[in-house]
């Protein structure tokens, strides 16, 4: 036990060690100096912004059909059943044409684990994961997203998640 604690060295060994350490420190500083001539990798947030991949999973949003200006969701409850933490709550409503739609649609974003399973199981492609990562709020109640907060119009390239119909390459890929 004592051997590991006390280290017997002669003065000559100490000088050799000192020389090696000084050399290593100079070498280390040379590596650091190289970075003066390299481009910075940091992003100066909030002046600059990080652009996440378009299919980055942040939160599931309700897709608005651009043609009809209505939610694609038919309140089939697939996502509510599949959600592992069980944080989706839907109240089904029926219109005059007997079509069902979500009267209320809540997602508790404070407990969402962003797995994207709800998007995978949706048979109508009515949910999309959106790459919006700025979701701070002043009150915990603001973390529970309702229908208005969740609704988005998805433009441009679609996310590459597997879909029921056809290949996920249909929507085209961003270059």
């Amino acid at each position: 036990m004592e051997a590991a604690v006390t280290r017997n060295r002669s003065f000559r060994d100490f000088l050799i060690y000192l020389y090696r350490a000084a050399r290593a420190i100079v070498l280390g500083h040379a590596v650091t100096l190289k970075h003066l001539f390299r481009r910075p990798v940091t992003i100066r947030y909030p002046e600059e912004e990080y652009h996440a991949t378009p299919w980055h999973r942040t939160y599931p949003a309700l897709v608005i059909d651009e043609a009809t200006r209505e939610l694609k969701c038919t309140a089939c409850m697939s996502c509510e059943r599949a959600c592992p933490p069980g944080i989706i709550a839907i109240e089904r409503a029926q219109g005059e044409d007997k079509k069902t739609y979500p009267g209320e649609f809540w997602i508790d974003m404070l407990r969402c684990m962003e797995c994207g399973i709800c998007v995978e199981v949706c048979p109508f492609d009515a949910l999309e994961m959106v790459p919006e990562y700025k979701m701070t709020a002043y009150h915990p109640d603001d973390g529970i997203f309702d229908k208005e907060r969740l609704a988005v119009v998805v433009r441009g390239p679609k996310t590459p998640w597997p879909r029921r119909k056809g290949s996920y390459l249909e929507g085209g890929w961003p270059t």
């Binding site: 590991a4 599949a82 962003e114 890929w173």
Partner: protein, 446 residues
């Protein structure tokens, strides 16, 4: 007690979804509390929902430990040390910044030399294995990310391989290659973090910033592939969630080139630095026999001179097709475990290059239905994670949820090594030893 608080009559029909509490056989709930109540449950005094379940013939409570809990042991030991005039007790953690999370070490000190070390775990316990029983197989993949959150891909792979064994299906060839690429990238990312944090624990701040920069580049690739940076939910039964997006090949090769350029810089900065060598060489020596006897795995085992790698010993996902070395160091100290990991980064780069060159065309997703009900049975699947052998034991009773899911996590075994490895060293060396074991408390405490 007393008659002041009486149990209210249940109002039928007034409220739905009322959960009925377990009722005591004799006496009332208020009489006993806390631990007594817990013991009563194990004795069978409670009628508990699910007790009459006729599953596989396993008596759940027969293996309950009869020894006092860890906390009591620690208290007794502390008293013993305090009775000894020349010994002193020091608590390291659980909020110590260099214990890699929430590890508490009770150190017995004589002067500054350590006479005993008792690791105390459980501060991050979140009922992971119980949650596995409550969630569907699909959700369990997403949950397994949270075990070892620095190596989410390999956790998913272990679970997916286990369930594929149950279902008796084979993943497609392209999926196998993609899994290999992802788990090797994950190994690189995890070892880079190890490089940075070990240096940080020993007082060198600069390497931490360097390694995190490259780690972010690897995570950029993961974000491009799977849509998330840390917790991917990418593996699926019979394949992966999505095929590689176009341009992934180029992106991965860029990262590999970057790493190959930067690794010599790392060695200049830290690995061959004599100050670092003095702090690590001959410190925390774990002998070959001890490493095997205590169930060490991965870099800790290979640092002690045992050339055991599951990728060679029990190949999965087609690792037998790739040409790579098993990195071994003989000395068994902190330095050896460090160098094994640094060499493994280079080997991983080799494997990824081979896999990218030979990536076959075809379906990567497999044709397995989304909701599965595996046949009843028990399987064990294991993979070589960045920290060692990661095993997953799944028991199925034919329903859509695992009946039991047990994880063999390497960090747990490595934390138990801390009982005897630091003895005789200084307090500052404990930090180096904990760093070299590289425990992640998501998977120690589960």
């Amino acid at each position: 007690m007393g008659g002041a608080r009486t149990r209210p009559e249940p109002q039928t029909g007034a409220r739905e979804n009322v959960i009925e509490l377990p009722v005591l056989a004799e006496g009332s709930v208020e009489e006993i509390s806390g631990r007594t109540r817990q013991r009563a449950r194990f004795r069978g005094d409670f009628e508990y929902p699910g007790d009459d379940f006729e599953g596989p013939n396993v008596n759940r409570w027969q293996y309950l430990p009869q020894t006092p809990p860890v906390e009591d042991l620690l208290v007794e030991e502390v008293r013993e040390i305090e009775g000894n005039e020349r010994e002193m007790v020091m608590n390291m953690g659980p909020q110590h910044p260099s214990t890699h999370g929430v590890l508490r070490c009770v150190l017995g000190l004589r002067g500054e030399a350590i006479t005993r070390c008792r690791p105390d775990i459980g501060y991050l316990h979140r009922c992971h294995e119980k949650l596995n029983e409550l969630w569907s197989y699909q959700g369990t993949i997403a949950l397994s990310d949270r075990l070892d959150y620095l190596a989410a891909m390999t956790n998913e792979l272990a679970f997916v391989l286990a369930v594929e064994k149950l279902l008796e299906i084979e993943p497609t060839e392209r999926a196998d290659y993609i899994r290999v690429i992802c788990s090797e990238l994950q190994r690189i990312a995890s070892h880079l973090l190890f490089f940075g944090t070990t240096a940080l624990d020993l007082g060198a701040v600069t390497p931490f910033l360097h390694s995190f920069r490259e780690r972010e580049a690897v995570y950029d690739v993961f974000e491009y592939i799977s849509g998330a940076r840390l917790l991917y939910n990418y593996m699926r039964f019979g394949g992966v969630r999505t095929d590689f997006p176009p341009g992934t090949d180029k992106k991965i090769r860029e990262v590999l080139d970057l790493l190959e350029n930067r690794l010599p810089e790392y060695h200049d900065l830290l690995s061959y630095n004599p100050i670092f060598a003095v702090r690590t060489q001959g410190v925390g020596v774990l002998s070959r026999d001890d490493a095997i006897a205590w169930g060490a795995a991965g870099p800790v085992l290979r640092g002690s001179g045992v050339a055991y790698d599951l990728r060679k010993a029990d190949p999965y996902s087609g690792y037998e097709k790739f040409d790579f070395k098993v990195c071994v160091e003989e000395s068994g100290d902190v330095w050896a475990r460090f160098m094994v990991r640094m060499k493994e980064i280079e080997e991983s780069i080799k494997i990824i290059r081979q896999a990218l060159d030979g990536l076959p065309e075809g379906d990567a997703r497999g044709q397995v239905p989304r909701f599965i009900k595996p046949p009843p049975g028990e399987v064990y699947a294991r993979v070589e994670g960045p920290r060692g052998e990661l095993g997953c034991y799944v028991v199925s009773d034919g329903s859509d949820k695992p009946y039991r899911c047990h994880w063999r996590t390497p960090s747990f075994h490595h934390v138990s090594l801390l009982e005897f490895v630091p003895v005789g060293h200084l307090v500052a060396d404990v930090v180096a030893i904990i760093g070299s074991m590289d425990p992640v408390f998501g998977e120690v405490d589960k």
